[in-house]
């Protein structure tokens, strides 16, 4: 009996925990769940798909996406593009779905500063990891006093500002779109039915796509900045040798 009561209390607290979350965190949870289910189904489909067949439907879209991101990674990162491309694809899918989720009546997760700064911190961790991985801890720390030790504070600030600039850029863009749409809906009332769709096209789809592109490109550029320069070129020949 006592155990059951405990269980009951835990369940209630979980429910109240969910209800106390901010709307953007709630939509983050739902979008993540939906994406996981959809990608599971797609991966099952991919297992059945044989290479000689013509790709169609969602497999065609995925092929286009992964091919595009692989090409972009080869251009910026070079030899080690395989280590980073999966992260970029993950970020790109999540960010794009999150940015256009205003169309489905959700609050975009990226309109919450905690989500975007968290994404920025993930990229920051990866940047530091690749810095240490390619130059060793000593070489990485030496990079902070690059021209001379006087530049240490400037370099440190520049390094720490990276996740905040990444996160706040995304946050500001999506939040401004959300606020402007809310203003339009509250001012125009029923007339918003005519005015809102083109604005949704701009603020949700176009702006969301551009911001996804910017976030991914900046991630790739920052990571490429930590890699040694002779690795940054990629020759198509190497793949045929493999």
């Amino acid at each position: 009996m006592k155990m059951m009561m405990n269980h009951n209390i835990q369940f209630l607290s979980f429910k109240s925990f969910y209800l106390n979350l901010s709307p953007s965190i709630k939509s983050t949870i739902w979008i993540t769940i939906v994406l996981v289910i959809v990608l599971l189904i797609v991966s099952k489909k991919l297992n059945k798909y044989d290479e000689n067949q013509e790709p169609k439907g969602i497999i065609l879209i995925l092929e286009w996406l992964i091919d595009g991101i692989n090409t972009a990674c080869k251009e910026t990162i070079g030899k080690r593009y395989r280590a980073i491309a999966p992260y970029i694809v993950t970020i790109a899918i999540f960010l794009f779905v999150a940015n256009i989720s205003g169309l489905f009546g959700l609050t975009p997760p990226t309109a919450s500063v905690s989500v975007t700064i968290c994404l920025g911190l993930m990229t920051f961790t990866l940047i530091q990891f690749f810095g240490i991985h390619s130059q060793g801890i000593k070489g990485h720390l030496k990079g902070f006093i690059d021209p001379n030790p006087l530049f240490l504070p400037i370099n440190l600030i520049g390094e720490i500002a990276t996740p905040f600039s990444l996160g706040l850029r995304l946050f500001g863009n999506i939040l401004s779109g959300t606020v402007i749409m809310a203003l339009i809906y509250s001012v125009l009332g029923y007339a918003a039915i005519i005015v809102a769709p083109p604005l949704h096209c701009y603020f949700d789809i176009f702006s969301g796509f551009i911001q996804t592109l910017v976030f991914c490109t900046l991630t790739m550029v920052f990571i490429a900045g930590k890699l040694p320069e002779d690795e940054l070129e990629y020759f198509e020949k190497e793949e045929t040798i493999e």
Binding site: L168, R169, F171, G172, N173, Q211
Partner: protein, 93 residues
């Protein structure tokens, strides 16, 4: 002038609505002044892209994507000012 100042000093109340009003004024100034820089930058990028397209029309696709990316970067400072404005309006009391 002096009478105006004494009039203001006598009638002004430094209460919460005064603070709110100044915060909103600051928000407007922040967005208005900070909007100048990104506007110039984006216009410059668009102009250069138009020039490049005139010189090499076959590279239009690449030029467009590079231009959009550059403009999104240039927008950043304006977005920061917008964030400051939101903070002033919704957080400052």
């Amino acid at each position: 002038m002096r009478t105006l100042l004494t009039f203001l000093a006598e009638t002004l109340e430094f209460n919460s609505s005064f603070v709110k009003g100044l915060a909103c004024l600051g928000a407007g100034l922040a967005v208005g002044i900070a909007g100048i820089g990104p506007a110039i930058g984006q216009g410059f990028a668009a102009g250069k892209a138009a020039e490049a397209t005139g010189r090499q029309p076959e590279a239009m696709k690449q030029i467009r994507s590079v231009m959009l990316l550059g403009q999104a970067m240039a927008e950043t400072t304006g977005i920061y000012a917008l964030l400051i404005a939101f903070l002033l309006i919704f957080v400052a009391k």
